[in-house]
């Protein structure tokens, strides 16, 4: 009865193997590496960079362990610090011919030392939290109110234009927070306007009312529209933050949304809070200017003449120079949105731009006089400008217009992103800030490690002494639990923090409960006179119901922590919940597997090594039976 079918052993073996493989990368530590990423928002890194870096390294006579393209950076790993420094210099010199205006960021970094075959099965080490690694942490709050106000402001402009176009006379449009109010002199106009606005602006919900002799329409943003505005605001802010943080050359920056309106920025290894804040808080600016197309300017562009007065020379994204007038038509402040899309007639990819009411008036005036000419859109970062695109003006433009022509969908996406990257969708404020020194981090790792180690050792020693062989099985099951837990956490690429380590320790301390329950039950069955095989069987059977009940209640507490906790509590809860699940498997299935393997085959099992089984009615025998293997008396 105590035999497992082969498939059960197979499952255990597979779990053990998977556990080993995925836990392994955590033990290799980190090796020095060089990371190459783009220094400019207009420059995108692709896979072709990896061979280029490799080439540079070969020329410099350096041997990298590997060079790989990942996400939006190329990383090369080296055996020692010396090679890393040399490689950084070599790559930096080759990629950035002009050190004053670098196109690429070449930064020192750390990469896992685990062998390539482990990385190729996606067995990666866990991330270490800031408290273990040192670094800077920011919690930023996005001002959603102003994002909504911005949207309402834009809509107010739209309403004005729409009503004017249809010749519907209104008695004033006002914006009160996120609500728009339009007044009318008579009911007919109001009804007509209402029909028009409901049709044209699906984001607003209209309610009509009467105020004295005036009729008024109050429009408010629909909840789903509000949500859309907020979602896109936070996504855009995160994108902008990513671009900016890239510049710091941080190894594994974490930029995550937390809750509906928060962004967490973690910069491991960065110690200089002031610089990090400076970069995160910086805004790139966007400017719209007219292209100078005079003869002198064309000559200047080809390099055969000086740049004319009142104009500047900029480089277009493709690399071609362009002479642009100094006078700024519009700035990024007036740009409300830039979205990639498709032209309705030609079905070509395009970028749809929306500017606010003030911007629309300027655009209208400027474009009316300049049809057929080119307008350049410039992005200024760190005081240096670059032309994102310079389309030809086809007609007079209003608040909404589009850039079309010879673009792929990817290009349209990039352009839209660049246009938006200039600004944050909504202002952000740092509401929490933490700095942890690297030595403190290393200390915390040691502390966490020692806590788990000695706690485990104490439990293992006790279990082995008290339950003998069953105790050994329990200890092995507990070790297996730890292995599985680490493997799952590595697979999930969870970030390990000190509370997380505490949760691992606590989970182990609690997981032993299942084995204690089982062992006590088996003893009890033996005490009741059951034969060893029956005792093992019923012991496990009966303990299982209790284990399930008690673990489910613990899991409920864990899940609640997971749902409502934030920051360190969340880290704790993730480990806690996973630990409960792995402990059920290891304590019940794995330890039973071991017991079955050891005892299951023995047909005439006389005794089991579970420590002394004491019987109330045989108290005097107990001393005599104080040896390792409890004798099981015949049934009475």
């Amino acid at each position: 009865m105590n035999r497992y079918p082969a498939w059960k052993y197979a499952i255990i073996a597979i779990a053990l193997l998977v556990g080993l493989i995925y836990t392994l990368p955590n033990f290799f530590g980190e090796a020095p590496a060089v990371q190459v990423s783009s220094a400019k928002a207009t420059l995108k890194l692709d896979a072709s960079m990896a061979p280029r870096v490799e080439d540079i390294l070969t020329k410099a006579g350096l041997k990298a362990d590997f060079v790989q393209f990942e996400g939006n950076s190329v990383k090369a790993r080296f055996g020692d610090l010396d090679a890393q420094r040399k490689a950084k210099d070599a790559i930096g010199a080759a990629l950035n011919p002009d050190p004053a205006d670098p196109s690429y960021i070449v930064a020192l970094n750390l990469l896992s030392r685990s062998p390539h075959w482990l990385t190729s099965v996606r067995a990666l080490p866990m991330f270490l939290g800031l408290d273990l690694r040192g670094g800077v942490y920011f919690l930023m709050q996005v001002d959603m109110k102003s994002a909504l106000t911005k949207k309402a402001e834009a809509l107010t402009g739209d309403i004005r234009t729409l009503l004017r176009d249809k010749n519907l006379r209104h008695a004033g449009i006002t914006r009160d927070a996120n609500n728009v109010e339009v007044r009318f002199r008579d009911r007919e106009t109001m009804t007509a306007a209402r029909n028009l606005l409901t049709d044209q602006l699906p984001d607003l919900l209209w309610v009509d009312g009467q105020d004295g002799s005036d009729f008024k329409l109050s429009g408010s943003l629909k909840p789903e529209a509000q949500k859309r505005v907020q979602d896109s605001a936070i996504t855009q802010n995160i994108t902008t933050l990513h671009n900016r943080v890239n510049e710091l050359g941080v190894a594994e920056p974490v930029i995550q949304q937390q809750g509906p309106d928060r962004v967490v920025v973690q910069l491991p290894g960065v110690q200089d809070t002031a610089k990090a804040k400076d970069i995160i808080g910086r805004t790139a600016t966007l400017e719209l200017r007219m292209v100078d197309d005079s003869a002198e300017a064309i000559a200047a562009a080809t390099g055969s003449g000086p740049v004319p007065f009142g104009a500047e020379r900029y480089v277009e994204r493709g690399g071609a120079p362009l002479i642009v007038k100094r006078q700024v038509v519009l700035t990024g402040d007036n740009l409300i949105d830039a979205q990639p899309g498709f032209d309705q007639q030609t079905h070509e990819p395009n970028v749809n731009l929306t500017v606010d009411a003030k911007g629309a008036r300027i655009m209208q005036d400027v474009t009316r006089e300049n049809v057929g000419k080119r307008m350049a859109i410039l992005l200024f970062e760190k005081g240096k400008g670059e032309v994102v695109t310079a389309p030809v003006i086809r007609s007079e433009l209003g608040s909404r217009f589009q850039i079309t022509g010879r673009m792929t969908t990817a290009e349209a996406n990039d352009t839209a992103l660049l246009l938006r990257a200039g600004s944050l969708a909504a202002p952000m404020e740092i509401i929490e800030e933490k700095t942890v020194g690297p030595s403190l981090g290393a200390e915390n790792i040691t502390k966490g490690f020692h806590s788990v180690l000695w706690g485990f050792a104490a439990i293992a020693a006790f279990m082995c002494l008290y339950y003998l062989l069953f105790g050994v099985f329990s200890t092995l099951a507990l070790g297996f639990n730890l292995l599985l837990l680490l493997a799952v956490l590595s697979m999930l690429q969870a970030t390990l923090s000190l509370p997380g380590i505490a949760a691992i320790a606590l989970t182990l301390g609690m997981a032993i409960d299942a084995n204690v329950l089982i062992n006590e039950r088996v003893r009890e069955e033996l005490r009741g006179g059951a034969s060893p095989q029956v005792a093992i069987h019923t012991g496990y059977e009966r303990a299982w119901a209790t284990i399930l009940d008690s673990n489910v209640t613990t899991l409920i507490a864990g899940l609640a922590l997971l749902a409502f906790g934030s920051g360190p509590i969340r880290g704790f809860a993730v480990v806690h919940c996973l630990g409960i699940l792995t402990s059920m498997f290891s304590a019940v299935v794995f330890s039973r597997g071991l017991v079955n393997l050891w005892y299951g085959r023995q047909k005439k099992l006389k005794s089991v090594s579970i420590g002394q089984v004491w019987k109330p009615d045989a108290g005097t025998d107990a001393k005599a039976n104080g040896n390792a293997n409890a004798k099981v008396p015949a049934k009475t």
Binding site: K275, I430, E432, T546, T554, G611, Q612
Partner: protein
């Protein structure tokens, strides 16, 4: 080895009233201290600035405190943590303080701490490109070093408190529903009362000793809630089994039997968990200190409450054999039960 050689079921329920009175007294004391002293909330809840500094020699906390009080920055806390050389300074940040102002406050405080040691502050850049204040004394030694600086908005704290309360509510409701389904509502009520009693007592300890109540302690308190219910469930499980097996026993005896037969497991399990927690307490350093303390109290009172409180409450609520037998279908009845055939 066999630690627990109990010949007869312990007549615990005979003294249920005494235990309940003890519980009620501790509980009321905890509530009293919570109400009068209140919890010493960490900066994560209240908002403010935390600065950790390490001194080259033993830090004179009183001296630092008097020097910092001269700055008139409001209530400043200076405490040792970990070793006698490590000092943590907590500064209140009035709502609406700008980040730059906070940084300025930190700089002022650190400058004061540095000059108290006879050094002067230079904004230096280390080889790693870190820019931070470095305190140098005349002979070039570094008498005090800034380890960590945190700015926390009080807003975050309020949310944490709300989320913590929500988590607590969900845990209570979730566990009650589960226990009511698996067992019976009387057990659910008994288990929850017993466990809330644990949680309040832990909080009472934190209020009485004015230990710092931070996020990890909150996590520990909520974990204790799950852990302690766990304990009650094991006993309830036995009560149910005993009701089925021993038809002649009274409710009293059944509960006594259940507690006695799980006693060994209770002590061993908690001992093991406590071993782990003790290890955290010894090796875990200041971050895990509060966590380990909360768990230690939680474990000790967890044993007490599930043995003496939960079962007793279930008894007062009038658990009957019918409550549990009815709840489970007949096929669940133990085949080994000699009385199984008696069911009509």
């Amino acid at each position: 080895m066999e630690f627990f050689r109990i010949r007869r079921d312990l007549p615990l329920m005979r003294h249920a009233l005494v235990f309940n009175i003890i519980s009620a007294v501790t509980f009321l004391a905890a509530v009293f201290f919570l109400a009068t002293r209140g919890l010493h909330f960490s900066i994560e809840f209240t908002g403010g600035i935390v600065m950790e500094a390490q001194y080259a020699k033993v830090a004179e906390v009183d001296k630092i405190r008097t020097r910092l009080d001269e700055l008139k920055l409001g209530e400043i806390q200076v405490q040792n943590f970990g070793s006698t050389r490590d000092v943590v300074v907590r500064l209140p940040a009035p709502p609406g303080t700008k980040k730059d102002e906070q940084t300025a406050i930190v700089e002022r405080v650190f400058t004061t701490m540095c000059s108290a040691e006879g050094g002067s502050v230079t904004p230096a850049t280390t080889e790693k490109g870190e820019k931070r204040q470095i305190c140098k004394s005349a002979d070039g030694a570094e008498p005090v070093r800034q380890q960590r600086v945190d700015f926390v908005g009080p807003q975050v704290g309020r949310e944490l408190a709300v989320d913590g309360a929500k988590a607590l509510a969900v845990v209570i409701v979730g566990i009650m529903i589960y226990l009511a389904i698996r067992f019976e509502w009387k057990f659910a009520v008994a288990a929850i009362i017993a466990n809330l009693h644990d949680v309040i007592i832990i909080l009472g300890f934190f209020a009485f000793f004015q230990w710092e109540f931070n996020l990890t302690v909150l996590a520990a308190v909520l974990a204790v809630l799950g852990y302690s219910v766990n304990e009650s469930v094991v006993i309830f499980d036995r009560i149910r089994e005993a009701f089925r097996r021993y038809r002649k026993m009274t409710t009293h005896e059944v509960i006594d039997h259940a507690i006695t037969s799980t006693m060994s497991r209770t002590i061993i399990t908690h001992g093991c968990t406590q071993a782990m927690v003790l290890s955290m307490l010894i090796f875990g350093g200041p971050t895990l200190h509060g966590f380990a303390i909360a768990l230690t109290i939680g474990i000790l009172f967890g044993i007490y409450s599930s043995v003496f409180v939960a079962a007793a409450i279930a008894m007062w609520l009038g658990v009957k054999r019918e409550d549990l037998i009815k709840a489970t279908p007949a096929k669940d009845v133990d085949p080994d039960d000699p009385n199984a055939g008696a069911v009509v």
